[in-house]
């Protein structure tokens, strides 16, 4: 789950990280009032779940409250990577002597949280990794021990030369690690961590991504979810326990398992079609999930055919068949359904479908080819 910059900063602040003050506005007037409260120059920052906000014009300096109103007015409502900006963060402008990057992610290879730090702050760490990998220092954290004080200090010595800043940075790194663990994050970064002309360290921008699997046991983090900042169909899908991603094509797909779902998209393209979505009904089968899946897909007017590709394992084919039958009773489905069902309780499923007037195949190639034909009669397989 993505959370906004202002939410990430709130978490960091709660763990002691020095984060300058900031308030969120949803209107230009509110932005003006907040800027006036701070006095002096402020930065107006779009709160949206997309990278590259700065380049897209979503981060602007304002010299005073009037300018803050103007800037906020321009940023609120703009689209960044397809997402509408509905909130801006207003924060006092800081004088910057230098910028560093500090972050921690869960790393597959070392099976541990890994800290990355760089003296090249203020730009995406991916860019630094690509252009100047030696400018990044890494350290894997053994989760059984946590980030040890000497490790934090060692990382700090890679960024700063004086003992005062090294100590301050080591403290921030330990606080960042605490925040990372306490919020169930998969990524937590401060970029930039600035040094002011007076030598103080401050977290000017922050990003925290939450491991979705942590949300059940962290209701306070789940409460940070901003459904207004994601496409509505994805919100509905998530609430129904489905993984759904909207794509550009006209072939709706309902698949169980992420790998098979991706392979189904690949096969649709292989046969000359275009998938309208990625939709994984997941491992645990429940007829209601199928109903919801069909409801979401049929909401997309571009969809010309819906292709089921179900391979039963922990998902039982009969549950899926029941879901299809149930959905056709409750939703007006105006496009053809093509169905592939194999695996656990396949025979029962076929009985259920046949009884309701549907047929099904056991071949993935066959069902996808059929879907492509129906979606686009002119294209041959």
């Amino acid at each position: 789950m993505n959370i906004h910059e202002y939410q990430a900063k709130e978490i960091l602040r709660a763990h002691g990280v020095p984060v300058p003050p900031g308030e969120v506005a949803t209107t230009a007037q509110e932005a003006q009032r907040i800027a006036a409260g701070f006095g002096g120059a402020v930065v107006v920052k779009a709160q949206v779940h997309a990278g590259g906000r700065g380049k897209a014009g979503g981060v602007k300096l304002a010299r005073d409250a009037a300018e803050a109103k103007e800037r906020a007015g321009a940023i609120l409502g703009m689209k960044i990577k397809g997402l509408t900006v509905q909130k801006v963060l207003i924060t006092p402008a800081e004088e910057i002597a230098s910028e560093a990057y500090v972050g921690v992610i869960v790393d597959r290879a070392s099976k541990s949280p890994v800290f990355m730090v760089s003296r090249q702050g203020g730009i995406d760490i991916e860019e630094v990794a690509a252009s100047n990998p030696d400018a990044i220092q890494k350290l894997a954290v053994d989760a059984r021990y946590g980030l040890l004080p000497f490790q934090a200090y060692w990382l700090a010595t890679q960024l700063y030369d004086g003992i005062a800043q090294q100590r301050a940075c080591a403290r921030i790194l330990r606080q960042l690690h605490e925040a990372f663990v306490a919020s169930g994050a998969s990524l937590a970064e401060i970029n930039p961590l600035i040094t002011t002309p007076a030598g103080e360290l401050k977290a000017i921008d922050a990003k925290i991504n939450i491991d979705d699997n942590e949300l059940d046991r962290r209701p306070e983090i789940e409460a940070l979810r901003d459904t207004s900042a994601e496409p509505e169909s994805e919100t509905i899908a998530r609430e129904a326990g489905l993984t759904f991603i909207q794509l550009e094509g006209n072939i709706g797909a309902v698949v169980n398992g992420a790998g098979l779902a991706m392979a189904t998209m690949d096969l649709i393209k292989f046969y000359g079609g275009e998938p309208a979505n990625f939709l994984d009904i997941g491992g645990s089968s429940n007829p209601e999930k199928v109903v919801n899946a069909l409801r979401i897909i049929t909401g997309d007017p571009r969809v010309k055919v819906i292709c089921f590709n179900i391979f039963g394992g922990i998902t039982r084919c009969d549950d899926v068949a029941n879901g299809i039958v149930e959905a056709t009773k409750r939703i007006a489905i105006r496009v053809p359904l093509v169905i592939r069902l194999t695996g656990t309780n396949e025979e029962k499923a076929l009985e259920i479908l046949n009884a309701a007037g549907y047929s099904a195949t056991t071949s993935m190639d066959e069902v996808v080819q059929r879907a492509v034909e129906l979606a686009n009669p002119s294209a041959g397989a």
């Binding site: 663990v181 649709i268 998938p275 990625f278 695996g343 656990t344 993935m364």
Partner: protein, 293 residues
């Protein structure tokens, strides 16, 4: 022979009385797997009734189950909040091979579980995996037994249902499998491609290997290098997510492309560079395997 499991596998089922646990225990019993016991706290002393008169005792703890039955493998169906604990319980009780089916285990839990399992000398398969199937011998997991056929092709995959698809294609073409292993798609899993490839290389009953990867991470690239250096048996590979849009998470934590690392193109290139035949679609497995064996 097979890898990790065989006829001598004595299986304990953690979470045996749950919906998934009880269903799949019956399926495994049906397949002939030697399920020696189950674990559900508070139900110790009861008996799990399986199909055709089969059944097994239930214990409160894994330790009790191991003492009573001599179990040498465990499979876990408990909910995600308890999965880390269940894995560690199995490892501490001395179970050498642990399969965690549970989907949705927090990855930070796994950063502690993994070293714990290693310290206890155990092998973990999963979590968020379909388990494994040695056709005709033993089934430890949720793969449908009827789609597999005993034979000499080893299958290893990060995906669940996509594995079934490939196995199904092989079986329909009368190409049998030695063992089919789903390693799971989570960022941190106990057993990776390389572990399975090494086991298949050492397994005299495996003559060729099918490896099914997906976008995200660099495990397939590392596996490809490992194959070039250490695997003399022919390998056929597939990568799911060739047409996935970049930057979006595709269902499981594994399937994400960030930056330039982990794209399908990169992985396919690594396969080709290391002498691995590449499938364009799942059904290509049949002609490609026929070529090599």
């Amino acid at each position: 022979m097979a890898i990790f499991i065989d006829e001598s596998t004595r299986l304990l089922v953690q979470g045996i009385t749950g919906r998934d646990g009880s269903f799949h225990t019956r399926q495994m019993m049906d397949y002939g797997t030697n399920v020696v016991g189950g674990v559900t706290p508070g139900k110790g002393g009861q008996r799990f009734e399986g199909p055709s008169g089969k059944g097994c005792p239930i214990f409160d703890t894994v330790r009790q189950g191991v003492q009573a039955t001599g179990a040498n493998a465990s499979i876990i169906y408990v909910p995600p909040a308890f999965a880390a604990d269940a894995i560690m319980e199995a490892a501490e009780a001395g179970i050498p091979f642990i399969v965690a089916i549970t989907e949705g285990v927090p990855v930070l839990d796994m950063t502690r579980v993994y070293p714990y399992v290693v310290e206890h000398g155990a092998r973990l398969l999963g979590p968020n995996c379909p388990g494994l199937l040695a056709p005709g011998r033993s089934k430890v997991g949720i793969m449908p037994g009827n789609i597999a056929l005993q034979g000499n092709v080893g299958v290893v995959s990060r995906s669940g249902t996509l594995t079934y698809e490939v196995v199904y294609q092989l079986t329909r073409a009368d190409i049998g499998q030695s063992t089919c292993v789903g390693i799971g798609g989570d960022p941190i899993v106990g057993t990776n491609f390389i572990d399975c490839l090494a086991a298949f290389q050492a397994d005299p009953d495996t003559r060729a290997i099918v490896m099914i990867g997906e976008i995200g991470g660099t495990d397939e690239q590392k596996a490809a290098e490992f194959i070039k250096a250490n695997v003399s048996k022919p390998v056929v590979g597939f990568i799911a997510g060739q047409t996935a849009p970049p930057g979006r998470r595709m269902g499981h934590a594994g399937a994400i492309i960030s930056g330039s690392a982990g794209t399908a193109a990169e992985k396919i290139q690594a396969f080709q560079d290391n002498g691995i035949q590449v499938m364009k679609r799942p059904s290509d497995v049949v002609p490609l395997i026929r070529e090599v064996i």
